[in-house]
């Protein structure tokens, strides 16, 4: 870990200018991911710009939906009564992540920008294209149990670890961003990138762009939504796979579904093919499995020294079927 400077500017504009000016400057949220990476030497920024006191810590009503300030801690977002009743999938996703202490520190702006848990990425003694472009991907042919099966490239097979982000992708959240050139809004599903040949870039954000808030649009069907996370121990573990789903059923027929997957791709994976397959389908395990199959046709599991991750295909299929089955029952 290298020495660095620390700034806590007075407003978001100043924070953005500070970071934009220096290529080695970064924003600091709750620090639960960034500070680990400083210690491990994964990143060595020269300046940390603390934004926890600058971005809003409020959750406000906006046009039928909710606006969540980037400074809202994960624990508060999960506990908010409006979130719990209107977007249960989001509250459940948040509560399934990390631990109570971490959720108290973690912020709404920092959470989607946490970096992959790929162990080679976190170990500076091993090559990693994401950490050091062009150095190679150690995970391929190594330990791949936790790695991606969708949207991978020959350069990187990492997953995005956030649970919250999977729910937000399913909910069609919008990300409010302030950059050196002003504000813009990014659909949550377009925030994260696939690795391609530039795995060093997790998201479409440019250097100096600050997340100021995330909007949850009005979505009545989300009142019946769920987050199902499958992991190796009962708590305090990242997802092997996860499913965020909302289901609108009418007379045994699916009107609409919102589905996103976690633990299987470099981004929270919005399962649009599965949603398409479900539209108009009768409620049954068979149609749910067919929806999973539609989404997973291009899945590419990895062999690995730990047995690899082929099991994720069956696991994700079964988890999706079970989640939709439970939701459909809830509807009935």
């Amino acid at each position: 870990m290298r020495p660095f400077a620390y700034q806590a500017p007075d407003d978001t504009g100043a924070a953005v200018r500070s970071v934009a000016e220096r290529p080695d400057a970064v924003f600091l949220g709750g620090g639960t991911n960034l500070v680990d990476h400083l210690r491990l030497g994964v990143v060595s920024p020269g300046l940390l710009v603390d934004v926890t006191a600058l971005t809003s810590t409020e959750i406000t009503e906006v046009g039928g939906g909710l606006r969540v300030g980037a400074g809202v801690p994960n624990s508060e977002l999960a506990a908010d009564a409006r979130v719990r009743s209107r977007y249960p999938v989001l509250a459940q996703a948040l509560l399934s992540g990390a631990s109570g202490q971490l959720r108290n520190m973690a912020t709404t702006g920092g959470n989607p920008l946490q970096r992959t848990r790929c162990m080679y990425f976190q170990d500076v003694s091993t090559p990693c294209n994401k950490r050091e472009p062009g150095s190679g991907c150690s995970a391929i042919g190594g330990s791949t149990r936790n790695h991606a099966v969708l949207g991978t490239s020959e350069h990187c097979i990492a997953t995005h670890p956030s649970d919250m982000a999977v729910a937000m992708a399913a909910l069609d959240a919008q990300v409010l961003v302030l950059g050196p050139d002003g504000e813009r809004t990014i659909p949550f599903t377009e925030l994260h990138r696939l690795p391609g040949d530039t795995p060093e870039r997790d998201t479409v954000l440019e250097h100096g762009e600050l997340i100021t808030a995330i909007d949850l649009p009005e979505l009545p069907m989300a009142r019946r939504s769920r987050y199902r996370k499958v992991r190796d121990r009962a708590s305090y573990a990242f997802a092997l796979v996860s499913v965020a789903a909302a289901l609108d059923v009418d007379g045994g027929v699916v009107r609409e579904a919102r589905i996103a997957f976690g633990g299987v791709a470099h981004a929270p994976w919005r399962a649009r093919r599965a949603e398409e397959a479900l539209r108009g389908a009768t409620v049954s395990d068979e149609s749910f499995a067919a929806a999973a199959a539609a989404e997973l046709t291009d899945a590419r599991p990895q062999p690995g020294v730990d047995g690899g991750n082929e099991f994720k295909i069956a696991l994700l299929t079964r988890t999706l079927v079970a989640t939709l089955r439970d939701l459909a029952r809830e509807e009935a």
């Binding site: 870990m1 030497g41 848990r117 080679y120 091993t126 499958v230 121990r233 999973a292 069956a314």
Partner: protein
């Protein structure tokens, strides 16, 4: 709760229990809760400096040059140690402790340099700036049973015969009506005590030339002293080792590791300044020992009524090429069940990997997994209840030596445990109980652990200020020695426990053995009893201020005549999610027979702790070694999963009353390790009962029981 039915002999242990058997709270509890108990890395020294390790990034070869220029240029850096500049040690016979003595690299993560700096932060920064140039040699870090270079070690830990044979196992397999041959594996596992391995070292010339004080997180101050003195070429009395409290060891702090030697070397490089070295969690995965992965081929030959004609285990496991450690995985099979024909063997692969070592119940813990699952498979094949199958094979005498058991209450544990757990009436069919979306099953496995008594330990008892103060260089690694030893001494002296204090954790006190092999209470307790008896013999019931006497642990003549072991029976209920295959353990119960229980509260906590660790081993613990690099990839607590609170549901431990007059005057057997021993097999057997899927390779992760999509 303690049972009242007598399951021992008609003799009772020498010591009449008054304080022994009482449910006393731990004496060090308040200091720990208040944060006033100090650990090695926060030991009270003036003006400490900090040492940070530079670890090898290759698994084999040479660190041909170590460029320290950039590191030395940082403000606050006091010294950089490299293979070229480090002091020469007096003894390098233990390659693990020959820190920086030459440029050879024997495993990834080995120490190739170290930085000493005014602050921890500067040391860390500087260590990352040390540039090491390697000459890389091809390495080999992949264990398999079909390697052609497996070898036979001279003995297995600590001094057991490598191979044993009785009767003719092959003939038994050829002739028995029912036979079973299966391969079971347990993965590489790492101890993860909360407190990392840490040492604070201080050379004190005012105490005499070569006087060294080490505050070391260790399971034995005296063993550290003798080892370090030999490595550094000092007399033992020049070295003082202090360790009042340990934040967990489980065996990984049983033998000194490189950090302890490095701390002494680093402190010598910065005269006058105490140096602190604490391993990072990641470094603990290469520098603090681990349990070898094991491949166990198990054979059972049986009659239709369940009587075993033969039992065999052939074990393949690994050691490090630079230092041998041979886990005694096959040893429990030598005396667990009656069978006229028997074979146990151990073969090792010497790999370019970190040095394996002790992890809670070395030998028994991995070695009871294969055979106890195999018995479950046999029970299913015979249509027999697995509890009854075990009882059917209860031996009258130790099948290996023919000696009688001092006490053996495995059957009582199985029966009582079954009753407590609600086993009777169990439907034996696998995969038929679906409750609320979970497949439910139950399983059983036996446990055993030997009664060890170490040859060396001495206690001093003195009378001062109206109290009895004993001193012995023993260790409390969270196990309760601070509390239990006064209970023993009080009964031996015949006084209330409040009048007795026992000081431990410092080589200023008389020599004591390592807190290992669940031997501490037996060994140190016996020394205290000997000292108390001599004290009373010499000074009577009314001693004078300053009266003092010293005595050592006597040899136990009975250990020649009897086989001495503790036993246990584990019962598990397992739930496997019908959709996702998630494996959870709603209930775990263990009933043990471990002699007289000196302190029920602390004993239960040891047993529950062992079972919790066994639960982790059953379901999730797995050090993933990447053979391409030779390092454990998941080397932190986010990815090396130990059981969390949410994984532990209804967890219970109890014991049968057992009076063993032969083991020691207290009548106690060790309880620190047996709790882990049968847990994993019981869970695996229950998972089979739940699902019908037999998992023979730990950990029992969901992918192994997941049906196809």
């Amino acid at each position: 709760m303690t049972d009242t039915d007598m399951t021992g002999t008609d003799m009772t242990p020498a010591l009449a229990p008054h304080a022994i058997g009482r449910d006393l709270a731990r004496r060090d509890g308040a200091a720990k809760v208040r944060g006033t108990a100090f650990y090695a890395d926060e030991s009270p020294v003036e003006n400490p400096v900090y040492c940070r390790i530079v670890a090898s990034t290759i698994a084999r070869g040479r660190a041909v040059s170590v460029d320290t220029g950039e590191a030395e240029g940082l403000d606050g850096v006091l010294a950089v140690l490299t293979p070229a500049t480090a002091e020469r040690l007096a003894s390098t016979s233990d390659a693990e402790l020959a820190v920086l003595q030459d440029d050879r690299v024997g495993f990834r993560g080995q120490i190739v340099g170290a930085v000493v700096a005014e602050s921890f932060e500067v040391a860390r920064d500087a260590a990352a700036r040390v540039r090491v140039e390697y000459e890389v040699a091809a390495h080999d870090a992949a264990l398999s049973a079909d390697r052609d270079d497996l070898y036979t070690p001279d003995q297995v830990n600590p001094t057991y015969e490598t191979d044993t044979a009785q009767g003719d196992m092959a003939a038994a397999m050829a002739s028995a009506p029912v036979t079973l041959e299966r391969t079971y594996t347990t993965p590489m596992l790492h101890n993860n005590p909360m407190e990392p391995h840490a040492t604070t070292a201080l050379w004190e010339p005012d105490r005499g030339a070569g006087a060294l004080t080490l505050y070391d997180s260790t399971q034995g101050v005296h063993p550290v002293r003798s080892t370090v003195a030999a490595v550094l070429g000092l007399d033992e009395d020049q070295v003082r080792v202090v360790c009042p409290y340990v934040g967990g060891g489980f065996g990984s702090k049983g033998m000194p590791h490189a950090n302890t030697v490095l701390a002494a070397m680093a402190a010598r490089a910065v005269p006058g300044r105490p140096v602190r070295v604490a391993l990072t969690r990641q470094q603990m995965f290469s520098l603090a020992g681990y349990r070898t992965p094991t491949i166990q081929q198990v054979q059972l030959a049986a009659q239709r009524d369940g009587a075993l004609d033969g039992i065999a285990i052939d074990v393949v496991e690994q050691t490090s090429r630079i230092k041998e450690f041979a886990e005694q995985t096959g040893v429990p099979t030598r005396n667990m069940y009656a069978a006229p024909n028997r074979r146990t063997t151990h073969r090792l692969a010497a790999l370019d990997v970190p040095v394996p070592s002790w992890m809670r119940a070395p030998g028994e813990c991995p070695g009871m997994f294969g055979p106890e699952v195999a018995l479950d498979e046999l029970a299913a094949e015979l249509g027999m209840d697995p509890v009854e199958l075990r009882i059917r094979n209860e031996p009258d005498v130790d099948p290996e030596t023919g000696k009688p058991f001092s006490t053996r209450n495995l059957v009582a544990c199985l029966r009582r445990g079954a009753e407590q757990f609600g086993w009777p009436g169990r439907d034996p069919r696998p995969g038929v109980r679906l409750e609320g979306g979970w497949w439910i099953g139950t399983g059983v496995a036996s446990a055993t652990y030997p009664v060890y008594r170490m040859p060396v330990s001495t206690a001093v008892i003195g009378y001062s200020g109206g109290r009895y103060v004993a001193r012995i260089g023993a260790a409390d690694i969270g196990t309760g020695a601070w509390t239990v030893l006064p209970q023993i001494a009080a009964d031996a002296l015949g006084v209330p426990v409040q009048e007795v204090e026992v000081l431990i954790g410092d080589t200023e006190y008389p020599p004591a053995s390592v807190a290992g092999g669940s031997s501490g209470t037996t060994t140190w307790g016996s020394a205290l009893v000997a000292a108390a008896e001599q004290f009373r013999g010499k000074f009577g019931a009314d001693p004078h201020e300053g009266d003092e006497i010293e005595a050592s642990v006597p040899e136990n003549a009975a250990s020649e005549r009897f086989a001495m072991h503790a036993y246990g029976a584990h019962f598990a209920e397992v739930a496997v999610h019908a959709d996702t295959g998630e494996v959870r353990v709603p209930r775990l119960h263990g009933t043990f027979a471990a002699g007289r229980i000196v302190n029920p509260r602390l004993a239960r906590s040891q047993l529950l702790g062992g079972m919790t660790m066994g639960l982790g081993m059953a379901l999730m613990e797995d050090s993933v070694l990447d053979p391409r690099t030779g390092h454990v990839v998941n080397h932190d607590l986010a990815e090396y999963h130990v059981a969390t609170n949410a994984d532990v549901a209804d967890l219970r431990a109890d014991w049968v009353h057992e009076d063993d007059p032969h083991v020691n005057p207290m009548g106690s057997k060790g309880i620190g390790e047996i709790g882990i021993v049968g847990t994993a097999a019981a869970v695996a057997n229950a998972a089979w009962h739940a699902t019908g899927v037999r998992v023979r390779d730990l950990p029992l992760t969901l992918d192994k029981v997941l049906p196809p999509a």
